[in-house]
């Protein structure tokens, strides 16, 4: 991606990936969800993670942030092996995670939700309210008094307040009204302009491909397809094979 933003750690080669997964097998306890995942995300670029329900998109996010069990392989963030770092350390190192169910703290106010983990930096309260004006009007409301769309905005704002260099967004558009999707798309574009690296898990392929540089599609916890986003947009048929006809592709592996 041409738009790179001067980051403190870009002394090394420009192509050094900010996030690198190599041979990652991960899951929960003994359960294996992801198998042999390899991803390299250049700093400042955005990756779409496509796939239907239950293909491991969320587990991939949780593996990166440290809330799933890494069985094999490496997760490197900015060149640093994250395997032994607890979740909160990874967050402080610069991995922001917006979970699918938003997880807003119900008895903290909007402002408190934003500041409770905040660290000083580019994304201060004013800038975040500027990014999400509806939140500014509701800053004294409690987390459980917000609509779904407001909760989603707050979840993103709360993650940005940590000053991340990599943002993981897990199906942020799910269940939102079209107008809100528009708002989030604008925000997304602004985040990209700021140089933030993004991993976006999404079921709606067209939406996600239009916003990202690279895409992977997961089928049963493995990468079934890997391509440039625009190439997939131009040839939607390639994706259909993976996202809809997967039964025929994977049936033989059921006994594994």
């Amino acid at each position: 991606m041409a738009e790179t933003f001067p980051l403190p750690s870009t002394q090394r080669a420009a192509e050094a990936p900010i996030l690198e997964l190599a041979g990652v097998t991960a899951g929960y306890g003994a359960t294996v969800v992801l198998e042999d995942i390899g991803v390299a995300l250049p700093a400042g670029s955005a990756l779409a993670v496509l796939g239907r329900n239950g293909t491991g998109k969320t587990t991939l996010m949780r593996t990166i942030v440290g809330q799933a069990d890494l069985h094999r392989g490496h997760v490197r963030f900015d060149g640093l092996d994250m395997a032994s770092e607890p979740c909160w350390r990874r967050t402080r190192l610069g991995v922001g995670y917006v979970p699918q169910d938003r997880d807003i703290f119900p008895s903290l106010t909007v402002l408190e939700n934003m500041t409770v983990g905040a660290r000083p930096g580019r994304w201060d309260t004013d800038r975040l309210f500027g990014l999400f004006p509806p939140l500014a009007n509701r800053r004294r409301h409690f987390g459980n008094q917000l609509s779904g769309g407001e909760q989603q905005m707050l979840a993103i704002a709360r993650a940005l307040a940590l000053q991340p260099r990599l943002l993981l967004l897990d199906e942020p558009f799910e269940g939102l009204a079209p107008a809100l999707v528009e708002t989030l798309l604008r925000v997304f574009a602004e985040l990209r302009r700021s140089g933030l690296s993004i991993v976006l898990a999404e079921q709606h392929a067209r939406l996600a491909l239009g916003m990202t540089d690279e895409a992977i599609a997961l089928v049963r916890g493995r990468i079934a397809l890997e391509a440039a986003s625009h190439a997939l947009l131009d040839a939607p048929g390639r994706l259909d094979d993976v996202l809809t006809v997967q039964q025929t592709v994977t049936t033989p592996k059921l006994q594994e």
């Binding site: 607890p86 979740c87 909160w88 979970p99 903290l108 409770v116 983990g117």
Partner: protein, 315 residues
Amino acid sequence: MISTRALDGLVLAALAAFPMVAPGYLDLGTRMAILALCALSLDLLVGYCGLVTLGHAAFFGVGAYAAGIFAVRAWAEPLAGLVVGGLAAALLGLVAGSVLLRSRRLTLIMLSLATVLVVQEAANRAAWLTGGADGLQGIVMGPVAGAFPFDLSGRVSYTYAALVLAVSFLVFCAVIDSTFGRSLVGIRENEGRMHAIGAPVDVRLRAAFVISAALAGVAGALQAQVAEFVALNAVGVEFSGEILIMLILGGAGRRYGALVGAPLYVFMQDYLAREDPTYWHLWLGLMLLAIVFLAPGGLTAWTSGLARRMRRAHA
């Protein structure tokens, strides 16, 4: 709407006004203040962190014994004793927290129960130091800050306890109003999410444990100094339960819950024991049941709900 600042001021005013309103009940007021402080310290764990424990008397008791022994063997000045009691309890809080916080929920309750029993048995066995089952005797307190000797009317005792409670309440407010305090609420509501926004949950909870233990220790020290005696049941399981009841009565996780619950409990206990010395426990139990049924979130939750409904009716 009444602001938090105004209500805080009201609390301090009520503490100051008590001797004028009920001059004959200063001993009772002192007891209310001490137990309110103890319930307040427990609220940090139960209400804010969401950690239910039945071990709080361990901190109160250790604070009481430390202050008592300090007065007997070293220095009879009360303020220094408070510091000693608070520090001793904080130390126990640090140790107990490191062990207890490896568990949650039912396991945590059981372990906290075990903590009280261990501390109580230790106090019982170390009779040469603590007086054992006879209690710690021979405490003769010096004047507070070298200027105000405890008197028979209980005026100095009350003023002393009320001032310590007031200062502790301000400390408590500073803690819960800080980002640290908000992060405790976040941990209560979603520990995993708090991790994922960069909070070292274990460290935060341990810090809360130490602060809570220190405040309980100060309450225990007050008790030892005012009574000039420490009974073995200051570290009892029964007392742990009583503190929890006082807190739940007033409302856990609410700024004024402990300050309402503890005095009310003490008042009901005193009133019922006088009216019906035989069956007062029964009446106390029935009243507690009634309050829990009618005001499930505690009395302060009920009053703020009432205030909200009245505002809506006016609007």
